[in-house]
Subunit: 504 residues, 2 copies
């Protein structure tokens, strides 16, 4: 029973239904809501708020909220609120199909942010106070401290910067989560900031509990529902070939003495290809690996269970249903091997650079000069968002971008003359890897990079087109970064018009 | 006399002419050469190397070098070597007209880098060893330690990663520089890195001297020549209007309690507009200002001399001739108010974020969504480079981009539909300021930003053109970031073809 998880007497008195709690939420309010990549989001209240919005809209009344989360949530949160046209502003990351449609239709204003910026900008007062913060938790201690759910995200600042708080206690969460969190709440404001005292990826620097003034709590709602546990695709041939190249390169660096045999802490972005790299590490010649990442997925969990990885640090756990079962079964074994931190710490430039994290992220497309688009489809439509990829790319020891060389059955090339949106610039991206090959961009000028990216990474169907563009661009203007300005984005326009980047 | 500045007996024995020292430099070598924004570069050796290259070329022989500096140097360094076609690779920043032409003509491969990345990538072995490092210094102590010149830049790593070292001792430098430097050489390699122990902008954490194994020193060359001391333009009306808006905004934030009355440490990019903001602060209602910047120019010097600024930290001093005279005259007063650090420290994301530096940089252009181009003219030609602007923009408390709204007598708009090169993305830029007005982009979605930038920042000559583009873009595709892909860069193409971005 959920109620038994509330050990604090005063907060037990505040238990009510989601519908009752939703009454506190008014039109125009700004809400901070926990949730990070399908974990740790409230399960009941968003539907109750969405129903309120629908009822208001049916009566011709306005009802929308501004909503700042940790990262993406799930259909029961972003999905239901978007379906009710209830979100006027959303930040910093999402991946819900209905919300995405609303964003790209201009119904929801979406600010896509580096995740490491979110909490400090809240603390610095850039957003003002939040009217209500809604958090999911696994329990409440006798003295009113909160045991976080499968992630922390921005919960610390979301509570500190809220006028009021509503807590959902989810009985479906393992009680073994208690003690896995490391809630560091001392980042502070300049000019009074101190170094973040992490020198190893598994250093504990905070408390296992989240603190909240119990007087600020308006309501506690009881739930019993799983996170959004999406199944991962089994690594296919393309993913395996990408993974093998990354692993071969790391092995080469170890042999050259430029990396320790246990590598450096690994970050892995969300998605099937990134997950395939982790799967590939199961059989790689490295031991005592460590993780320092934002989302811990199946691949990293299995590395820990297989004792290839010693420890991992993340801000959230995002598992397939099978992996969740393995996690819950092994939670006692995992307890001293997994740390969950605030996303300001998991994604902190200071810590990422100090530890020398090896960053691996997927992309929508890269251009011939090494700029990467992580967010926009054909330049104008938002896919998900930049998430933490910029934090790790700019500050990591290595920054890998991985993708199959084509998408949509070959109609889209992941290597284009110019990316249609720039999220990571030529200054930050070190390696582009497709199933075709890898380009090491370090220490190279743009024209040197172009040759490597075209010859090593592009799909053969597009290679001649890229060579042709590049050759003509060299005759068109300056030779630092040759481009034909009116043609640079023409591949994307062709796709919009014909459904294929290739010339028919 | 320069020779008296060499107190170490062994190194005195190695004094020779620049021509003799240049004999150590062979075709194909990779050199690390100190120098940062016209300060601290060798004055004699580059000409001797250039003469060697010219003589070789006259005989039909190959002679080029790879060259990694701190930042830009001067005509007597980048200029003479470029004029001799002697540079095949150059990184990380330059501003020399002859070298720029070589880069844009494809004769020199130029890697434009974040300055905070340079030293760590050298240490991490991304460049291999340098054959020879050439540094400028103000003197050598009895025990062979080096007193740096008007800047430090990448000198620490340049020496550590060199097979051999050549030192130029410049008698034109004030001997009062001794003690002004803070050489921190302990950043180290992961997984053994510790926090950088700076918690205030004036914290000293290193030694006043640069260390170098005297056995590695091939030669010491004596010089007596000034740095490249370019005159700044007196702030004009446009610069003053930009400065006034930045200062008004900061004053507003102080009054709202979101900034201390002494502000937070200031960073100011290179150039006349940035210098004008510093000049404007002379009469602003703030006291006890501090600086944490990469290049300390006239404006910041005058703030210190006027006792408006308590202390400033930089990696180099880049003065006009008049300001250099004021600096030298007041060096005893300034000694405990200016620190010069390695650029890995002046530009360190960890420190910049911790201190909450207020970053102010100039730009070539911004687009209607807040992306900024700092480096490329019309998308293909390199101007100077990104320098440290990315380090401060991504990590600062505030990030301002300042520019007049037009250039070339109105033929170029600084606000365009899409920037022709992306150095700082919509995720990083907080404020765009022109003489027309200011756009505060924080917490806003791209379409909200577009309205602000067009209405507040663009020049009236271009405002209707921007409104028209934006209105049509809203009908053309997705509404996260509306664009007309084939038209987005057409303003630049029009300028290339007609010399004017406006439609005639």
């Amino acid at each position: 029973m959920s109620i038994e998880r509330i050990k604090h007497e005063g907060l037990r008195q505040k238990v009510m239904t989601a519908e009752q709690a939703a009454e506190f939420v008014k039109d125009g309010m700004n809400l901070a809501i926990t949730g990070f990549t399908g974990a740790g989001y409230p399960k009941a209240l968003p539907t109750a708020i969405a129903n309120k919005a629908k009822a208001a809209h049916a009566k011709g009344e306005k009802f929308t909220i501004g909503m700042v989360t940790g990262a993406s949530t799930a259909p029961e949160c972003d999905g239901v609120l978007a379906e009710a046209d209830a979100i006027h502003f959303r930040s910093p990351f999402q991946s819900d199909p209905t919300l995405r449609n609303n964003i790209n239709a201009g119904k929801t204003a979406y600010q896509d942010m580096h995740l490491s910026h979110v909490e400090q900008q809240m603390r610095q007062g850039f957003y003002g106070k939040f009217d209500i913060t809604i958090i999911e938790a696994a329990g409440i201690t006798e003295d009113g401290k909160i045991i976080c759910a499968m992630g922390i995200g921005h919960a610390v600042e979301a509570i500190k910067n809220a006028e009021a708080v509503i807590i959902e206690i989810n009985a479906a969460l393992s009680e073994g989560l208690e003690g896995m969190h490391d809630v560091y709440a001392d980042v502070g404001l300049p000019p009074h900031r101190k170094p973040i005292p992490i020198t190893g990826p598994f250093d504990r620097i905070g408390s296992p509990y989240l603190e909240c003034d119990t007087d600020k709590v308006l309501a506690v709602v009881l739930t019993n529902a799983g996170d959004r546990n999406s199944k991962f695709a089994e690594p296919d041939e393309v993913s395996k070939r990408i993974a093998a190249q990354v692993i071969d390169f790391l092995d080469h660096e170890v042999k050259a003495g430029r990396l320790p045999k246990s590598l450096l802490p690994l970050q892995s972005g969300v998605g099937n290809v990134a997950n395939a790299v982790m799967a590939g590490l199961l059989d790689a010649p490295f031991d005592d690996l460590t993780g320092y990442t934002e989302v811990l997925q199946d691949g990293m969990l299995d590395l820990i269970l297989a004792k290839k990885m010693k420890t991992a640090s993340a801000t959230a756990l995002s598992f397939s249903p099978d992996a969740l079962a393995r996690f819950n079964e092994n939670i006692e074994f995992l307890k001293d091997k997994i740390i969950l931190r605030p996303m300001e710490i998991s994604n902190n430039p200071e810590v990422i650079r100090r530890l020398g994290v090896i960053g691996m992220n997927s992309m929508i497309e890269a251009d011939i000069y090494g700029n990467v688009n992580s967010t926009h489809v054909m330049g104008t439509k938002m896919m998900n968002g930049i998430g933490g990829s910029g934090d790790f790319t700019r500050n990591g020891f290595f920054s890998f971008y991985v993708s199959p060389s084509t998408a949509k059955g070959g109609a889209i090339s992941a290597i284009v003359p110019m990316v249609s949106h720039h999220d990571h610039t030529e200054h930050d991206v070190m390696f582009i890897v497709t199933e075709q090959g890898m380009a090491d961009l370090r220490g190279k000028a743009p024209r040197q990079r172009a040759k490597l990216i075209i010859e090593n990474c592009s799909h053969p169907d597009y290679r001649d087109m890229l060579r042709d563009y590049y050759d003509r661009a060299e005759k068109a203007g300056g030779l630092q970064t040759p481009h034909i300005l009116l043609e640079a984005l023409s591949w994307h326009q062709r796709f919009v018009e014909t459904g294929d980047m290739r010339i028919k």
